[in-house]
Structures are given as C-alpha cells and as structure tokens.
C-alpha cells in the first residue's frame, strides 16, 4: 500500500511538472488595459553554406557577415511592420559541400519543408545560379551575394536580386588602372580558372581589352583542382606579356600567385580575382607583393551618410567603421568583402521589408525594384528591365594592391578608382 501511494505521489509530481513546463511563462508586467499588444513573428531566412569543399573559406566569411546582421537586427528588437507586428529573423542553413547538385536539393528543402520566407544565395556564381532556379520556381525572393555572373539575371527571373558588381565589370577596372599608368603596354595574358564565374569575368575582360586596343597574347583556362601550374607558367613565359590577369578563387589563386613568384615569372602587373583581397593572402609573403585584386568592398573605402548627401542619394544602414568594428568584435578578424557581402544581403532584405511594411513577397519585391541607396558596401540599385532583371546596376569594384608599410609588413592599399586611392600604384613589379 505504501508503495502504491509513493508511486501515485511520483506520478502526480511528474504530471504537475509537465503541466508547469507547458504553461507559457507569465509576462513580467501584465499589459495595461487599452494598450495594443504587439505580436512578434519570426521570418525564416534560408541558405546553404559551403562548410566543406573548395569554397569553404569565402563561404564561411559570407555566412559570418549574414549572421552578424541577423544578430544585430534581433538584438535591436527586430523590424516593425506597418500593422505593428515585430519581425525577428531566424536562419536555417545546410552544408552544400560546394556542390551544385546538393544546392538544388537543399534549396528545395528550404523552400518546401522548412518553409523559408526569404532566401540568400550560396557563395559562388555556379552555386547561386543553381539556387536561383529553385528560388524562382517556389516563388521566394533571393538576394544573391558572393555571386557575380551576369547570366543568372538574363534568364527571365523576377525574384532574384544581385548584391555584387556583376562579372562583366569585375576586372575591367584593373585594365583601366594599367592604362592610366602605362598607356604604352599592349600585351596582356589572361589565365583563368575554368569555372562559370572566372570564365565569365575573363571573357568579358577579353572583349573589353580587345575593344581598348590591347593584344591578348594568351587566353587559357585551368582546372579548379590544379596544384601544378608549371605548364601554364611555361607558356606565359613564352608569350612574355607585360601583365597577367585572371585567376579564379582563393585556393587556386593563391597557388597560382605563389608559383608565379617561385618560378621567377617577370611581369610588371598581376591582377587576380577573389584571392588577393582576402586578408590571409598576405601569408604568401613575398609572393603576394604587388598583386592586385578587385574587391567588392574594402574597410579602407569609406562610404558615409555625408557621401550619400553629397551624391544626393538615400543612406541606409551602418557606416563602414561601425560594420568593421562589429565584425571584428564578433569574429576577431578583419572583415573581407565576402563578409560585407553577406551582411549587405541581409540588410537589403531588411530595407525592403521595412519599405514594404509587410513580409508579402510581391510587396518586398516591389521595394527591392525601387531601391536606389548608398550603404557602407556602396551604391545598391537593381536593373528592372525584363532582359536583366535583378542585375546589380549601382555597385562598382575597388582595386587593392599588396604593398609594404615602413616596417616592411604587407598591407593592402586601394589603387583604383583614383578618387578612393590610398596609395600610388607600384609599377612595374620587375
């Protein structure tokens, strides 16, 4: 009998604990009569990250930037919609293994099973292009970041918006920079990674160079997995160009730069994609010296509310300094443009939701279509024509060069555009 009572007591105790757990916590201060209670909704942002595979360095930084934005918005109390509802953001992501097939599978899952309200693209043009199809198919707005190919926006999509300067304008500034310093140079070599983004950039650069009267003495692609650049370097040495342009992503770009140095290639000007602006590029030591790289954004470049006023544009979001400080505090490293790109992708969504005053897709789309503003990342404006809908029309690149400070330590300097330059170009390199 005693045992029966003990069991009964335990059961009652357990039941009361479960019930207590299920009951919502009482508000600290009961709402006073007449005050409208604010409802809070959570908007789910879905994306994939390349936590493994060849793109993991850039992708991790991009995701860091995006997470920082979400945390800042939520910490500040979220966004208030026109009906008084407060929106906070939650993120849902998967590892896409830097693999296109995985991307399509996972974005379908994000759109259908996880019911994400908005999507952010994975890093790299190839993966973002694969994700864009799915976003459009399931009627979800997607801000692409870390993806510069033009072709994604020429497929008639209406819900995909690009944060980056498109590939067609990615390396052309490096050629303009060269022309400004050495108009006599005519021979250039273009050696690029064989993926969609690098090929798009290099093809656009090739066309631009020919139009400007340059002689492209070598135009070749290399496989993404290349670790031995000897055959390409041998060929570059034969064609003896004054400038080498091209490259691809971080891993192959650093390998290429390192082997150009180790094999003693004597060229005057080297501009490579993606890798040089990364802070870790400096680990190459002497091999990094003088290398130029286009960057979507640099902490050195200062866009501010004042510059927005001067340019008669609307300003939105934090300043470069505020973003840089917040990122450093959160991740203990200098933000690269990938990180800034991740942040600005979230911020553009925030801007459009605030403008639209609702989470409804068509209203947010209309707000993005009408956006024309200056942010710490630069000018943001999307093409609204039927042929190029969503293509970034406002933003432009800055070009950095690895130079040395007085102590001989490597540091980045902005060398183009001239109005934003922080140092003279080092030319020629040899």
């Amino acid at each position: 009998m005693k045992r029966f009572y003990t069991t009964l007591f335990m059961l009652v105790l357990m039941a009361s604990l479960v019930l207590a757990g299920c009951t919502p916590a009482a508000p600290a201060e009961p709402a006073t009569e007449g005050e409208t209670t604010t409802t809070e909704v959570t908007a789910l942002i879905g994306f994939t990250a390349s936590q493994t595979g060849s793109l993991n360095v850039e992708s991790t930084r991009q995701i860091n930037g995006l997470n920082l934005w979400a945390k800042q918005v939520n910490d500040a109390g979220g966004i208030k919609l026109s009906d008084g509802t407060v929106v906070k953001f939650a993120t849902q992501f998967y590892d896409d293994e830097s693999n296109k097939d995985r991307v399509q599978e996972l974005y379908t899952r994000l759109a259908t099973e996880d019911k994400a309200d908005f999507l952010i693209s994975p890093y790299s043009s190839g993966l973002a292009d694969a994700a864009a199809v799915i976003a459009e198919q399931y009627g979800k707005i997607m801000i692409t970041t870390g993806a510069a190919s033009d072709s994604t926006y020429q497929k008639g999509y209406t819900l995909v918006f690009q944060a980056y300067t498109p590939a067609s304008r990615y390396l052309t500034g490096a050629l303009d920079r060269l022309a400004a310093t050495a108009p006599e140079v005519k021979d250039i070599a273009i050696v690029h990674e064989n993926d969609k983004f690098s090929t798009d950039v290099s093809t656009a650069l090739d066309a631009y160079a020919r139009e400007k009267g340059y002689n492209v003495v070598l135009f070749e692609g290399y496989d993404s997995e290349t670790t031995d650049f000897a055959p390409f370097i041998n060929k570059i040495q034969e064609s003896a160009p004054a400038a080498i342009m091209g490259g691809g992503h971080f891993q192959d770009g650093t390998t290429f730069a390192r082997q150009l140095y180790e094999k003693g290639v004597a060229v005057d000007y080297i501009a490579l994609l993606v890798a040089p602006p990364e802070p870790t590029f400096a680990e190459l030591g002497e091999a990094a010296f003088g290398i130029i790289g286009p960057s979507q954004w640099e902490p050195l470049v200062q866009f501010s509310e004042q510059s927005a006023q001067a340019a008669n544009m609307a300003w939105y979001g934090p300043s470069s300094v505020e973003f840089t400080e917040a990122y450093k505090a959160a991740y203990n490293e200098e933000p690269s443009y990938h990180a800034a790109g991740g942040y600005v992708a979230g911020m553009m969504l925030q801007y459009a939701i605030e403008k639209a005053g609702t989470l409804e897709t068509q209203a947010v789309k209309a707000a993005l279509d009408a956006a024309d503003l200056l942010t710490f990342f630069g000018h943001m404006k999307f093409d609204t024509s039927a042929e190029n809908h969503g293509l970034q029309a406002g933003h432009s690149m800055v070009y950095i060069q690895w130079q040395k400070d007085e102590g001989g330590a490597l540091m980045k300097q902005v060398v183009w555009p001239l109005e934003g330059a922080t140092a003279e170009l080092i030319y020629p390199l040899h």
Partner: protein, 366 residues
C-alpha cells in the same frame, strides 16, 4: 613439327581488326606530325620554352613513376588495381607537412631566430621523408589487412570496388582531420622553391628549381634501390615467386601473406616519399592532392606495362613529359593536358594492352 608450322602461319595472317588498328595508328601519327610541323613552322615556342616544358615534364615524371611503381608492385602480385594508392601518397604528404611545420616552429637559436629547419636542413628533410614514408607504409599495410585481405578469394571486381571505397574514405578522412584548406609546405632555405639554376637559352632565362633537381635525384635513387631490392634480395625473390605462382611459392616455404604485406609496405614507402616530394616541389597539398596524380600514375603503369617495374618507371617519365609537351606539340590549350594523358591510356589499351615494355604475365594470369 607440322603443328608449329601451322601456328606460325596462323600468326602471320593479318586479321581485319589488325588492319584497322594499323590504319588508326598511322592516321594518329600523321595527325600529330602535321600539327607538330605546323607549330614548329609558326614558331610559337622558342627553344627556351621547349626546354621549360621538358624540365617540368621530367620533374613531374619522377613523382609519377614513384607512384606508378606502387600500382605495378601490387598488380604484379595480387592482380588488383589499388585505387587508394594516390590517397596513401596524400597522407604521407600530410604527415611530412606536419613534421616540417613542427621543425619550423622549433627555434634553436633565439637570438637570431633560427629554426631547426634552417639550422639543420638535412636532418630536417631526412626526418620529413622518414615520417612521410612511415605513415604511408603503415596505412598501406593496414589498407591491405582491412580492405583487401578478407576479399582475397573473391572475384577480381570485388577488391577493386573496395579500393575505390577506400580511396573516397581516405579523401574524406583527410578533409575531416585537416580541413579543406590547401596547406603550404615550408621548405628549408636551401630548398627554397624560388631558387634554382638559371640558364640563358635563346637570350631568355630558364630556371631549373633546386626542388626539381632534388625531386628527380630522389626519385631515381628510390627507383634504383627498389629495382635492386626486387632483383637481388631474398625478399625480392620471394615477391617474384609469389607473383608467378602463389600455391607453388607457398609449397616452397614462402609466407605468401607476409610477402603481400611487405609489398604493400614497399609501395607505401614509395608513395610516402612521392607525397613529400610533391609537397617540397609543388608546395601545395590538400585532401584531394593524391587523386589526380594517382590516376595519372596508374596510366603510367599501364603505359609501361602493368606489373613491370622498369616499365612503370619509364611510363612515369614518359607521361610527365608527354603531358607537358603534348599540348605544345599539338598546338592546343594546356587545359587539355589531362585529355592527352588519358587519350594515351585509351590508345595504349587499344594498340598495345601489354604496355611499352610488356606486361609480366604470370602462370596464374595466363
């Protein structure tokens, strides 16, 4: 006697297939010659560039031949392609990398900040090779014990699939353990990749990197050592006996399993050394670094005649040179160099399946 005469006559008769083979071969040769003459006449490449192509080819060929030997040794004895061999090389390269990193951070002279790596470069390099070879050796032996020995009696396709599985497993394991980032081999100053012999050819500088010379010397020494081991030692004789006929070798008192194990040991040692050489010369390693060289070395082994040790050495050097010279000779883009390497594999399999030096066929296989 009559029978022999009949066989001879049968052999001299040329079949239709043979005629097709000859025509295709002639067309291929004509095409290559036509392209080559075109390239030479257009003068796209100067003497200095041809020399650079050959130098790069010989260096990479040295690495290929060391890996190719691993394929050939295992094939010679077990008649199986050890597709995980490239990964055995990659893991050797990684362990060498960690040794170099440790020696680089070990400061022996705090005043001048001299590291062990630069203070004692020769012991440092020897230690790197030793650890790299030991790691690959252990992995090679374990691979045989776990993935291949239980399948010894199974049809030939079964261990092949197991090998492919092991290859993917090791790639993923390395990615998990060491991350996906490419690692840079820290060479001592005497093997700085930016230094080398500078030749003036055609009024241009052709640099032969010291690491390249080192790679070729080490690979030749290892290959000669291996050849002597197989030809002159008791173990070598036992290996050859097991390759020819396992049951008889066993009856003669040879421990067949032991010999197979030692074969994997030797091929692992060579792969480990090749991995370290790859790191020292190319400077970059990551989890996928063994795969493509592994497949290329397999091509080299087939090219030289699989199961044939001098053939694998020759095949490795031949493939390295062809890969570097091929696109230039044909006047095509260098991104097609792998196409050339694998086209050679296909052509060899069609025209001379026994390879350049001929496959060593054992009784069992025949």
């Amino acid at each position: 006697m009559a029978e022999i005469a009949l066989t001879t006559r049968r052999k001299t008769r040329i079949s239709g297939f043979r005629i097709v083979q000859i025509i295709v071969a002639l067309l291929t040769i004509a095409f290559i010659t036509w392209r080559f003459v075109g390239v030479l006449q257009s003068g796209i490449y100067g003497t200095d560039t041809w020399l650079r192509f050959i130098i790069s080819g010989v260096i990479i060929g040295g690495v290929y031949s060391m890996i190719a030997i691993g394929y050939t040794l295992v094939y010679g004895i077990l008649f199986m392609i050890n597709f995980a061999h490239g990964e055995v090389m990659m893991l050797g390269a990684f362990s060498g990398y960690f040794v170099l990193e440790a020696l680089r951070s070990w400061i022996v002279d705090p005043v001048n900040e001299v590291t062990f790596l630069n203070a004692y470069p020769i012991p440092a390099i020897l230690l790197t090779f030793l650890v790299g070879m030991l790691t690959s050796m252990i992995i090679g032996v374990m691979l045989e014990r776990i993935a291949y020995r239980p399948l010894r009696g199974a049809p030939r396709l079964v261990p092949l699939i197991s090998a492919i599985g092991a290859s993917i497993f090791f790639q993923n394991l390395a990615q998990l353990l060491f991350g996906p980032v490419r690692r840079i081999y820290a060479n001592p100053t005497i093997l700085d990749r930016a230094n080398g012999i500078r030749l003036i050819v055609n009024e241009k500088t052709v640099v032969i990197q010291y690491t390249g010379i080192f790679t070729v010397i080490v690979s030749i020494l290892m290959l000669v050592g291996l050849y002597l081991l197989v030809q002159r030692t008791r173990l070598g004789r036992a290996m050859r006996a097991v390759a020819q006929d396992k049951p008889t070798a066993s009856l003669m008192g040879i421990d067949v399993d032991g010999v197979i194990s030692r074969t994997f040991m030797i091929s692992g040692i060579l792969a480990g050394a090749a991995g370290v050489l790859w790191g020292i010369h190319n400077g970059i390693i990551y989890h996928y670094v063994g795969f493509i060289p592994g497949i290329k070395a397999f091509t080299a082994a087939v090219l030289g005649g699989i199961g044939n040790i001098p053939g694998a050495m020759l095949g490795g050097y031949f493939l390295g040179i062809v890969e570097n010279l091929g696109p230039a000779i044909l006047g095509i883009d260098f991104q097609l160099k792998d196409v050339i390497a694998f086209s050679i594999l296909v052509l060899v399999l069609i025209f001379r399946p026994t390879g350049i030096l001929g496959e060593v066929l054992s009784e069992e296989k025949v």
